[in-house]
């Protein structure tokens, strides 16, 4: 999946330039609340449970200040990504032990048309492996500043 395709799964409604969260639990909740507020998810508890179980499998904090909490749930109908940023950084039990600044929450349905879920996760990992992209994302204040970094334009 290329960056321009990836950018289609983001939305201004699922964007928090400055998270209020102070810890892992709050960060997951704050991002999930965007999906609930946008009526993308009816039953918050079910999806919260899924995200907690996913963290049991292993922290989605992949290191270098990045976390990608993700999962498929029967309580969703299409793939969407929420973005949140914390300048102070949040302890997310990341694999390198470092605080997380950039959060990408990916929620997917049990089956998705064209099976885009895993390619989306892969494209995010690739994008965020680039130090330059991480540095630019750490500075964004609006969705208008954010999106061009994702599309790579």
């Amino acid at each position: 999946m290329n960056q321009s395709e990836l950018s289609r799964y983001f939305s201004e409604h699922l964007f928090i330039p400055q998270l209020k969260a102070k810890n892992k639990e709050q960060a997951i909740s704050e991002l999930l609340d965007l999906f609930v507020k946008e009526k993308y998810i009816r039953n918050r508890e079910i999806v919260l449970e899924m995200l907690h179980q996913r963290e049991k499998l292993g922290s989605t904090g992949i290191g270098k200040g990045v976390a990608i909490p993700h999962g498929r749930t029967t309580a969703a109908s299409h793939v969407l990504i929420a973005f949140g940023k914390s300048d102070a950084g949040i302890n997310f039990d990341a694999i390198d032990g470092k605080p997380v600044h950039l959060f990408f929450m990916v929620i997917a349905p049990p089956n998705d048309e064209g099976n885009t879920y895993l390619p989306i996760l892969g494209a995010l990992v690739t994008l965020l492996n680039e130090k330059n992209n991480r540095d630019m994302l750490a500075k964004v204040k609006s969705f208008a500043e954010f999106l061009p970094i994702i599309t790579g334009e």
Binding site: K39, R42, N43, E45, I46, E49, M50, Q53, R54, K56, L57, G58, S59, T60, I62, I68, H70, G71, R72, T73, T74, A75, A76, S77, I95, P109, P110, N111, L118, L121, G122, V125
Partner: protein, 111 residues
């Protein structure tokens, strides 16, 4: 808190979906060091269901891959058959478990 049967079934399936794709997400660079712990959580959750309910879930899953499917705009997303609007009114309460007359899967209303 998740306590209704339908919610437990959805959660159980969500964990099963996770377990299915463990090796794929590991290849992408995610940690899956808690695999055993997740399997344990899955069994604990499954044990909260009655035996017949768990049997029904496992049987549907073995036969149709997904035991429960979302319903959106009255459409079963397992087979795309339209569900009666009146069914959705009760269905959204998450109390009773309804199945799609066409594909036989259990239904979970999204909207």
């Amino acid at each position: 808190m998740i306590k209704k049967d339908l919610e437990v079934l959805v959660s159980l399936q969500d964990i099963d979906l996770m377990i299915e794709e463990t090796s794929e997400v590991e290849k992408l660079g995610f940690s899956v060091s808690g695999y055993t712990e997740l399997r344990k959580a899955r069994e604990e959750l499954a044990a909260t269901l009655s035996k017949p309910m768990l049997f029904r879930y496992e049987r549907l899953r073995a036969k149709l891959k997904r035991a429960i499917v979302p319903v959106k705009n009255d459409i079963c997303l397992g087979c795309f058959l339209r569900q009666p609007t009146s069914l959705g009114i009760k269905g959204r309460e998450d109390e009773e478990i309804f199945t799609c007359e066409n594909c036989g899967r259990m239904l979970y209303w999204l909207d």
